[in-house]
Symmetry: C2
Subunit: 132 residues, 2 copies
């Protein structure tokens, strides 16, 4: 896979998430995927995403930076959304929050095999402080 | 700068931080550096690092993943340290904490011109819960 193909692959993966097209997730994610050290596998990874969408009905993944050096991709994602109820243990309750995620992906056989991700939870707290 | 040179450059930058060799910081950091949207400049960036070391005397930057596609570098850093007093608003008070940082760097004229960084603050909280 060339670097351009890596970018295209990642763009299609993000499109799949934004379309909630879970039946196609296996085109992008390895059956044995590991997320932050947890061996979720494809089914567990899908369950995690489905839970995210249940918690955040208007969840939309927006890639604002993407660095590709295969087999590695790293993405800075931006979220602008209104989580229902609690989100990451914070009482968001439908208020608008804006935050980022930095996710490292290691590809295996052309699919996402490992993910290391950190969310900017402090940004959510700061948003909530200014939006009582 | 080749990709290998980018890796070498970043390794020397991390060595500079771990040596607290602030007088050499300008070899790696652009005079107009911007950190998480804040135009710190070299002096402000150095002040931030000096404050970090004041808060965490045993601070050591350990690179556990590095993805290089110049002019971009992205690093997953691991910290295993004992912050004094409060750290990130948490009452650490010298207890051992282990956490990660995901930092995107954009080089400009061969030096760090922009940084976008997220810390895994939840990992620190989890450590504190298990280390009363």
């Amino acid at each position: 896979m060339s670097e351009d193909a890596g970018r295209t692959f990642y763009g299609r993966y993000i499109d799949c998430l934004n379309a909630r097209d879970w039946g196609r997730l296996g085109l992008f994610v390895d059956p044995e995927v590991v997320h932050n050290g947890r061996p979720l596998g494809l089914a567990g990874y899908r369950a995690m995403l489905e839970q995210n969408v249940a918690d955040i009905p208007d969840l939309r993944f927006e890639v604002v930076r993407l660095v590709v050096a295969l087999p590695d991709l790293v993405s800075r994602l931006r979220f602008d959304c209104r989580p229902c109820g609690q989100f990451l243990g914070l009482p968001v309750n439908g208020r608008r929050v804006i935050f980022h995620e930095h996710a490292f992906y290691r590809l295996r056989d052309g699919k996402i095999g490992q993910v290391w991700s950190i969310l900017d939870k402090d940004a959510i707290k700061a948003t909530l402080r200014t939006s009582p």
